[in-house]
Symmetry: C2
Subunit: 352 residues, 2 copies
């Protein structure tokens, strides 16, 4: 098509340099080849016809949710009580009616669905894996309710993509539920080690979001190098199971060793290992002591990230933590627990 490639190169330069930005907005000059390739890779990852890339996972929820909700006349959003702030902001910006169902409580969700006008469009939004407790949503059961009450489903797989499912498609892939979900949202900034976020779904839905989401239209596209890096990471984790197996193995070992040491590990079926402290000041002190006296960096998780009284250390072992490191971690935690006179595991938790 291009007759004067040199001139094109120079004029693309206009956009790529001092003009419309390093990348430009997607609808002006920002849609580059590696970005299109990345979107194809993401659509394939979740078995969906189309995908749309955003500057972050936060932005994908914050602008994706209200855009979808506004396209459904008089939409009712049903939101899990522990949904991430980016989803809460998205719901708030949708400006439509919303109802919050108790976390992972199917009976409560059904009660709310049943009470709503059957003809009314409904959107159920939830996470597949909740990052602060490490628990998992009953995806198939939620989809059963969505089918029964004619609701759309939107799942945040941010803490699962790359890490769960035979190709890293998340918990929905692992459970064979991806095809039942209307919108699967994810991030490139966790398992894929990059940055950016996305949604996947039907071609019509993705086109609608592309055309109406202000947080997509008026922002700069991710640069080609970032997109290419993300595509490489996704392709690697589609083919390699080693990281996922080792990741789970390491998480299991951390849980076993900390439990054996009598530490109050909060129950979790995933790679996330929360250890309860229940006091903001002591949580911060424990983190400081671990760093200063043991050379171990674990962040205190305090309000507003978790409710007051549920302050914790959250440990997320990687595939590269060996047995020696995990044993050192347990010893360090025990020492800190004694110094701060923190409570050990309760009897009923020990009996689990």
């Amino acid at each position: 098509m291009a007759q004067h490639p040199k001139v094109i190169g120079a004029m693309v330069d206009v956009a790529a340099r001092m003009g419309t930005g390093a990348g430009g907005t997607r609808n002006i000059a920002g849609t580059n080849h590696p970005l299109v390739e990345l979107e194809r890779e993401l659509a394939d990852l979740h078995g969906k016809p189309a995908a749309l890339l955003f500057t972050s996972g936060y932005v994908s929820n914050q602008t994706g949710i209200p855009t979808i909700a506004k396209l459904l006349p008089n939409c009712l959003i049903l939101s899990d009580a522990l949904n991430h702030n980016s989803m809460i902001e998205g719901v708030r910006q949708a400006g439509c009616d919303k109802q919050v169902w108790r976390h992972n409580d199917l009976a409560h969700l059904e009660e709310l669905l049943k009470a709503a006008d059957p003809a009314r469009p409904k959107l159920i939004i939830f996470e597949s894996l909740y990052s602060m407790d490490g628990d998992i949503a009953p995806i198939h059961a939620i989809c059963d309710l969505a089918d029964k009450y004619n609701a759309m489903t939107y799942v945040d797989e941010v803490h699962a993509v790359g890490m769960y499912g035979p190709r890293g498609g998340g918990v929905s892939e692992r459970e064979g539920a991806a095809a039942r979900i209307d919108v699967i949202e994810g991030t490139l900034a966790k398992a894929f080690g990059c940055l950016g976020g996305y949604i996947t779904g039907s071609a019509e839905l993705i086109d609608a979001v592309r055309s109406y989401a202000p947080g997509f239209i008026f922002t700069t596209a991710l640069p080609p190098a970032i997109c290419a890096a993300a595509t490489a990471a996704i392709r690697h984790l589609k083919a390699s199971q080693w990281e996922r197996d080792r990741h789970q193995d390491r998480a299991a070992r951390v849980k076993a060793v900390l439990n054996a040491a009598g530490l109050p590990v909060m129950p979790s079926s995933t790679h996330i290992v929360p250890v309860l402290i229940g006091d903001a000041e002591k949580c911060k002190m424990a983190s400081d002591m671990l760093l200063a006296d043991h050379g171990i960096y674990i962040q205190p998780i305090n309000y507003p990230t978790v409710p007051r009284g549920e302050e914790r250390l959250r440990i997320t072992p990687s595939p590269y933590h060996d047995d020696v490191l995990i044993d050192q971690l347990a010893e360090a935690l025990v020492e800190v627990w004694e110094r701060l006179q923190l409570p050990k595991r309760r009897q009923q938790m020990a009996a689990e």
Copy 2:
């Protein structure tokens, strides 16, 4: 401080790999050394005590403006009519009263300021350089009004940082007005060729936004490599005037050549060269013809980026466009103008 660097390294790995993300959230594990260095560089660029980095310029406005407004009890926002969508979204999310002043109309701004309760906190938000028309705000005069009516000022320098001011501090630096403005916002995704956005201001204000902005707290930090690249670009443009001089020289030549060819160049005092078409379909056709038949890529700017009837080609020459390329551009535009029977320059515009 670190006694076991190997263990630290491994545990930071937790955050850096499959745990809390490639970077982690800023308040958990995402604050890395290159990021802190970048924030210092940005604060210095605008002569402010502090800076805060966001994932994009869009996000910095969208979450920065409402966070600041909510910290001011009963705040009244006064917003220029042509402010960018990210600022409009920020104002909307603030949820407080807002008044829109006619674009760059100081009399209208004063009228609104005068009518408001003198004791009421006020926030004037505007851009230094408006990207679709290429015109500039009367920054000192706006600051005079802010002083007179005790209002805070927030300026978006997205289209000016790196490109204006002796060190690339934007139009506010060029006019010696930076110290009079409370918050200067900018991007790393245009002149600095990278990605990310930021605000700069007093240490107290930056700390408040850091502590209260959901779009900052709950998102992943920019990775170290991106931050280091941005810092390098800012440092280069602080010291090198060549790009800025050449940029202005090239823009002036494009305007002169297109004006001489009778094309309807819209008046602009900056590097942005809009050429009016005034019809969405013909605007798209002109862009397609330029690419297919002349090998030149210039994007059509249609609604909603500009109002209907003001559709245009927007040309933003870079320092690397030589005279030959500019002459080819003029010839191509003339050919397309004739083929589409587009109006040439009106007489009164020619007389300017």
